[in-house]
């Protein structure tokens, strides 16, 4: 069950999108999100939708895999859509008890839903095609200017990349502890909210204990391998822009311009 969460995981493949500079992908994702909120008509959807499908194809990502990654946000998506559907004022097309559905509401819900789906799609393409290490070194470089304001950019980037590395390990561990407690008769599946929350204690405490133990051991291993912060550190994979990055930037500018001027 927990194995199904693919969000934020790297999907290894040989593609031009995988080879793009992580800064391009990071800034590109931001640009794409901006573009998503710029257009106001159906044509904008087609443009952005077409763009994302094109990028997915270029990245050689199986659609199934992407859709699977949507599962964790399904609840949020439904919630937002229903919220928009019922609370947008305008021309009433249906009514039931205290709920009324308006034409504007239907549009708003659809727009919101599609935007959110594309937003998650777009950002997950970034994480699927970029190794956590590259992604963090990209972010480290993009946000590098913050160092002037004493923001520990390198340390934050390192923390994120380690967190990403340990997500699958901790998920496995959660699964294992859950089963071990189930074997002792624990019940995670039935009962009211309070009972279920209480049932989580035997799962969460061992998980925290284990996470702390891992953190301690990892810190020791990093120290043993001469880690001493960002000072004097070189990079195995330094960032370098190529022609493909220029093309990517140009197409993103094209997308934004398109979204602004589309009828």
């Amino acid at each position: 069950m927990l194995r199904d969460i693919t969000l934020g995981q790297y999907y290894p493949a040989e593609s031009v999108i995988h080879r793009l500079d992580p800064r391009t992908k990071f800034l590109g994702t931001l640009a794409f999100i901006v573009a998503l909120f710029l257009f106001k008509t159906f044509w904008g959807f087609l443009l952005c939708g077409g763009f994302i499908i094109f990028v997915t194809a270029l990245a050689k990502l199986p659609i199934k895999f992407l859709i699977k990654g949507m599962r964790p946000i399904l609840f949020l998506l439904l919630f937002m859509m229903i919220f928009n559907l019922l609370l947008t004022p305008g021309e009433i097309i249906g009514q039931w008890w205290i709920f009324r559905v308006t034409k504007e509401g239907v549009y708003a819900a659809l727009f919101m839903g599609l935007r959110l789906v594309m937003l998650v799609f777009g950002s997950s393409i970034m994480t699927y095609t970029t190794t956590p290490n590259k992604l963090t070194s990209g972010m480290e470089s993009v946000f590098g200017f913050l160092k002037i304001f004493k923001v520990p950019v390198h340390e934050l980037a390192m923390m994120i990349s380690i967190a990403l590395r340990f997500i699958p390990i901790l998920l496995d561990e959660t699964n294992k502890i859950m089963k071990a407690q189930q074997a002792r008769g624990a019940d995670f599946e039935t009962g009211g909210l309070i009972k279920r929350a209480k049932a989580l204690v035997p799962l969460l405490i061992p998980l925290f204990v284990s996470a702390f133990r891992r953190a301690e051991e990892l810190a020791e291993a990093m120290e043993a391998r001469c880690y001493h912060g960002g000072k004097g550190r070189t990079k195995m994979k330094p960032l370098k822009y190529h022609l493909r990055d220029l093309i990517a930037y140009l197409s993103l500018i094209g997308l934004i311009v398109g979204c602004v001027f589309i009828p």
């Binding site: 294992k176 089963k179 074997a183 002792r184 008769g185 035997p202 061992p206 204990v209």
Partner: protein, 283 residues
């Protein structure tokens, strides 16, 4: 009283490109009171197999019967199965969560619907069986040594009064003294409480010493299921699976080949020593 697995199969990543069979068409019968060794290396499917035995994993195909009842029948209560088939996972000390040893051991019995008195009797009994003394029952599990933690975790499962106790590599990561301690403990529990024990291990030497029946699993399939001396006759096939028969059994086999009059079925060092001594006429 018995547990029967009838032609069970289970796949990982069902429906994806990564689909692999974890266990294939396995049929097994676990009668009362046996001490069974389940052997196979990492990834052989042994951990998946044992999770079927108390309903933590549902097979894709095949049936599991406990005392004659299909455990996936509508009327069957999985919780009853989990009480009667105790499963101790690898590194079980990682599941301890309570503030004191006794509270942690009570977790199982309380979940299983024991009365307060029954639960306490069972918990104290289990702690005694694993050799945790009165002085430690109110200690925090985090303060104990590695070996003690593991014994407390085993007590946590034992306190549910299971009829079958399955342990997944209970000696992993312990030093030699710790390993012997745990194994002797299991033997004692088996003899005194008449509990069926399934010991999952990759040490042939441990299994040979304690088990009366050995099941060898590789690639999700059962290759051998017999008493130890019969299984060890397949020395070469076992070697291909990355498993070695105990050193002392190897020794007597080789000696026999060289013409020494020794018993080639020796399973433990004591038996081997006695047999060689006899052969040389010393005592």
């Amino acid at each position: 009283m018995s547990l029967i697995l009838d032609k069970i199969s289970y796949y990982y990543g069902k429906g994806t490109a990564f689909e692999t069979a974890a266990v294939k068409n396995i049929t097994l019968s676990i009668p009362d009171g046996e001490f069974i060794g389940l052997i196979g290396h990492t990834g052989s499917g042994k951990s998946t197999l044992i999770q079927h035995m108390n309903g933590l994993i549902k097979p894709e195909s095949g049936n599991i019967y406990f005392n004659g009842a299909d455990i996936y029948d509508k009327d069957f209560k999985l919780r009853d199965l989990r009480r009667k088939v105790g499963l101790v996972f690898q590194y079980p000390e990682h599941q301890l969560f309570e503030t004191t040893v006794i509270k942690d051991v009570l977790f199982g019995p309380n979940n299983m619907g024991f009365t307060k008195l029954e639960a306490e009797v069972a918990a104290y009994d289990a702690l005694k069986a694993v050799g945790i003394g009165e002085d430690l029952i109110d200690a925090s599990p985090l303060e104990l040594s590695g070996g003690q933690k593991r014994r407390v975790a085993i007590a946590g499962v034992l306190a549910c009064n299971p009829e079958i106790l399955i342990l997944d590599e209970p000696t992993a990561g312990l030093d030699p003294a710790g390993r012997t301690e745990i194994l002797n403990l299991l033997k004692k529990i088996h003899e005194e409480k008449k509990i069926t024990i399934i010991l999952v291990s990759h040490s042939m030497e441990d299994v040979a010493r304690y088990a009366e029946r050995i099941i060898v699993i590789d690639n999700g399939e059962i290759y051998f299921d017999d008493e130890p001396r019969k299984v060890f006759e397949h020395e070469d096939e076992l070697k291909k699976m990355g498993l070695e028969i105990p050193q002392c059994t190897q020794l007597v086999r080789k000696l026999k080949k060289c013409g020494f009059d020794v018993d080639e079925d020796c399973l433990t060092v004591e038996e081997t020593l006695a047999s060689i001594k006899e052969c040389f006429g010393i005592n």
